[in-house]
Amino acid sequence: MSEPVLEIDDLTIRFNLKRGTLTAVDGVSLSISKGETFGLVGESGSGKTVTARSVMRLIPTPPGEIASGEVRFEGKDIYQMSDREMRELRGQHVAMVFQEPMSALNPVFTVGAQIGDALRTNMGMNKAEAQERTVELLQLVGIPSPGSRLNSYVHEFSGGMRQRVMLAMALSCDPTFLIADEPTTALDVTIQATILELISSMIERFHMSLLFITHNLGVVAHACDSIGVMYASHLVELGTKDEVFANPQHPYTVGLLNSIPRLDVQEKYLTPIDGYVCNMMDPPPGCKFNPRCKQAMEICQREIPDWKEVAPGHFAACHLHSQQ
């Protein structure tokens, strides 16, 4: 794979709330190359969405605050970009499919008007061109008889169709980089399979890079090239998909993989991770996973583990590896 398109470098994001300070993302670094699909997985609340939104500069400040780090798109620090550059980035290069389609699509405008509007602002099309392109896009994402759906409102679509409309909207700017935040989580498996197929054909067709957020390891196993695992605001493991699945190095990743019920055989009892994810307002000192970790040592309660390269291109943040 070629040069990185997106680089996140030691990113820390805090929310300064009345109840106290919440560190949602803590020292996260990752990079995504051209044409690469990167899967970001982790427990809910671990900071996946905040990481993704930071790439679009969509963190509300205040209460949010980019406490440290850089996010670079094609080498350019996006937090140093002017408003005009940022509009260009969002309108023409990076697009995002949000976790809840209803919150991202406008209920009072028709689907045709919303996509058409984006095309006219971002791509400088006139009304007729925009309408023609909208029909093409809806067709592309598999909306049946797209011409007759232009005047429909979002609430008239099923969940799977809403996700497709979101995708059509995201693709309207011919993005080179797509961020998809749990685009299939609320969907049934057959619809999920359709959306995944659609996304992978888009990637091939447009040579897009993709940041794919999900908590479904099955989806990552089949849709992604690389994987990053987050736990309580930290990235704890990073590597190629094949490496991480075959040879997981962080106890949380191992625990996660062991928790999944299998489809081929029936086991009487599963092997869960004990305990619960920590309160993000009051995380434990040291490794955030230590209260749930079977292998935790004394040092784990004191020091946050450093990032170690456990195999070429495969990283983990765990004291088990700093010991060696």
């Binding site: 049934d188 999920q192 908590h215 196993a221 625990g255 999944i260 019920p261 489809l263 029936q266 991770i273």
Partner: protein, 340 residues
């Protein structure tokens, strides 16, 4: 009686006394009056949420009910608890006709059938303490008289679901999703039910927590001989927890059988499609595939014939005309399809 039906009658012990629950021809139609114009025109739209389904659950076993959103799983669960009344059909509990029970008898029977819902946030009253929430069913069913007994019982319940006694005076918002689901299970168990209906009880949980709760369900079943109707849309969860599985599609049961048969020798094209679409968490396994075209059929005034006909790769002309019966294959295995 056809040969197939005969052999089914011989091998499947559907005799009422062996089954905790026997459901026959259960049907629930919702009348969607439609807009004013269609009402004036005398048109009624019927949403066939559950359409003539039959199944049984033996005492102490788990029947998994699986299917895609809107296929009628929750409606089936609600019908069995009589939270809603069926359009037609029979529900026998221990061979007794539940639908003929008087209001008084039904109130008593309610404690035998308990529901655990998907959303642990919505199902616990935020303004009440855990003590209050877990002892309320004891009051309702007159199962504990004095405060001391109730407190003892609540502590026992907390212990049973793996939660410390220090939680007894706390409020639901102080707990995580997984803990709240434990509390919901404790509440369901407080009245010693026979049948627990779990309506997607692990769907909202992270995988690591989901595994804890699935283990808890299993443990409690072993301890108390509980019978489960376990509703889920996640096939690996169904695979894990069920003894037998019923697959629903748009208001109908399309296939039913022992869990190993359904997962290793599925017959119905819909069951096959569901299984093929699951991405397994192992890159070496084949990638998910889509074997059906089009969208899920509508339950509103569905056309005649098999509900899968419009999207089925095996469909023949007869499929669009005649609704296939659920027929016995061998043993407990039943399938509703003209072709397989």
């Amino acid at each position: 009686m056809s040969d197939a039906a005969m052999s089914q009658a011989e091998t499947a012990p559907t005799a009422a006394e062996e089954n905790l629950l026997d459901v026959r021809n259960l049907t629930k139609y919702f009348d969607l009056h439609g807009d004013l114009v269609s009402r004036l025109a005398g048109k009624h739209q019927l949403l066939k949420a559950v359409d003539d389904i039959s199944f049984y659950i033996r005492k102490g076993e788990t029947l998994g009910l699986v299917g895609e959103s809107g296929c009628g799983k929750s409606t089936t669960g609600r019908l069995i608890t009589r939270l809603i009344e069926p359009t037609s059909g029979e529900i026998d509990l221990h061979g007794e006709d539940l639908l003929s029970f008087s209001a008084q008898r039904m109130r008593e029977t309610r404690k035998d059938i308990q529901l655990v819902f998907q959303d642990p946030y919505a199902s616990l009253n935020p303004r009440k303490t855990i003590m209050h929430i877990l002892s309320r069913p004891l009051d309702v069913h007159g199962l504990a008289t004095n405060w001391h007994d109730k407190r003892e019982r609540v502590l026992e319940l907390l212990n049973l679901v793996g939660m410390g006694s220090e939680h007894i005076d706390r409020y639901p918002h102080e707990f995580s999703g997984g803990q709240r689901q434990r509390l919901a299970i404790a509440r369901a168990l407080s009245v010693n039910p026979e049948l627990v209906i779990g309506d997607e009880p692990v769907s909202a949980l992270d995988v690591s927590i989901q595994a804890q709760i699935l283990n808890l369900f299993r443990e409690l079943q072993e301890k108390f001989g509980l019978t489960y109707l376990f509703i889920a849309h996640d096939l690996s969860v169904i695979r894990h927890i069920s003894d037998r599985v019923a697959v629903m599609y748009v208001g109908k049961i399309v296939e039913e059988g022992p869990v190993d048969v359904i997962f290793s020798e599925p017959l119905h094209p819909y069951t096959n499609a569901l299984l093929a679409a699951v991405p397994e968490a192992d890159p070496k396994k084949p990638p998910p595939r889509l074997t059906l075209s089009g969208e899920v059929a509508t339950p509103i005034d569905p056309p005649p014939g098999c509900r899968l006909a419009g999207r089925c790769p095996l469909a023949k002309p007869v499929c669009a005309e005649v609704d296939p019966d659920l027929r016995g294959i061998d043993g407990d295995h039943r399938v509703a399809c003209h072709v397989v």
